[in-house]
């Protein structure tokens, strides 16, 4: 009998705690899957009002509206790429922190590698042109003097 009451109490407690859990989570996100996807997408996007903040982190009014819009799109079953397209078609590539590779951004993406290649080429040319200091040939007279000095050392 005692054991039975104990387990009932435990069950009630457990039930109560799970209930309060879900009640607490409600206002934050009614669907954690949607919210996780929203954060994933919004981290990649720039808030146009405060441009150094991502859409996920910004508290600007427009950012809130756009997050609401993205939530609706996700619920409609749109893929991440489709949601991105929705925003890019309205605000341009600038909303993306990682701009797409296309003719207008070739320089942006390729520029650093071009500079690296140019730097390496410059280095090679510089090293090749440099005359090594030890390649200076000795005259016959200097050779004799050198030999004499070396011999002197040996005899001592």
């Amino acid at each position: 009998m005692k054991r039975w009451t104990l387990s009932l109490c435990a069950a009630l407690l457990l039930g109560a705690s799970t209930a309060s859990w879900s009640a607490d989570a409600q206002p934050l996100a009614d669907d954690p899957v949607v919210e996780a996807r929203l954060v994933g997408i919004a981290e990649e996007l720039r808030c146009l009002v405060c441009q150094n903040e991502s859409l996920a982190g910004s508290r600007a009014d427009l950012a809130e509206d756009l997050r609401r819009e993205i939530r609706t799109l996700i619920r409609q079953g749109k893929t991440d790429a489709e949601v991105m397209d929705f925003l890019v078609s309205r605000y341009g590539d600038f909303v993306r922190y990682r701009p797409p590779v296309k003719p207008t951004t070739y320089l942006l993406w390729g520029g650093p590698f071009v500079l690296l290649a140019a730097g390496l080429a410059g280095l090679v040319v510089f090293l090749r042109r440099r005359t090594p200091p030890d390649a200076v040939a000795l005259t016959a007279e200097e050779q004799q003097r050198a030999a004499a000095l070396l011999n002197e050392n040996k005899n001592a």
Partner: protein, 177 residues
């Protein structure tokens, strides 16, 4: 060998030019991808008390060159822009349509009676959804739309007499001809 000294100097000059150009550009002016594209369709209730129950949509302006001005009473630069718009409307070059963005209806109506109404119609975008379709991110913004319904020009921030004279009016004349 002496030429090598010119390389860093040249690189510095290039860098300086890039930085100078970059510093003189306004990062808040993001080029709109909507230029040349059809103006997004919408149907929104009108603000004017006398037009209660009526809706406005851009499709009504087909065949006309017209201007869509996004404004709100909470927007400081809009107040600065408003007299410019009232003046411009008097010239009757193009019809100006207002898009009252995320605003209180009563306050917006009071604004128009107090400061004058340059708009042939004002649509109420209470939740800002149409604003999103138009890529609005900083009020005021103004769109110039041609006879076929395509967006041809977008002004981010307030219109000034100078912008109107130098850019907008020549463009309107070209689009109307």
């Amino acid at each position: 060998m002496k030429k090598f000294f010119l390389v860093p100097l040249g690189l510095f000059a290039v860098l300086a030019v890039f930085l100078a150009v970059g510093l003189n550009r306004d990062p808040h002016e993001v080029p709109s991808p909507l230029i040349g594209k059809p103006a997004p369709v919408f149907s929104l209730p009108r603000l004017e008390a006398e037009a209660a129950g009526q809706a406005f949509g851009p499709q009504e302006m087909r065949g006309k060159v017209w201007m869509l001005n996004v404004w709100a009473t909470w927007c400081g630069p809009c107040r600065q822009e408003h007299p410019v718009l009232v003046d411009f409307a008097k010239a009757k070059l193009v019809p100006i349509v207002g898009l009252n963005y995320k605003d209180q209806k009563a306050e917006a109506q009071r604004w128009l009676t107090e400061f004058g109404n340059p708009y042939v119609a004002t649509a109420v975008d209470a939740d800002g959804r149409v604003g999103i379709d138009y890529g609005v991110y900083g009020v005021p913004e103004t769109y110039l739309i041609d006879k076929t319904g395509a967006i041809r020009f977008k002004q981010i921030g307030p219109l000034t007499a100078e912008v109107l004279q130098k850019k907008v009016i020549p463009m309107i004349k070209e689009l109307q001809s």
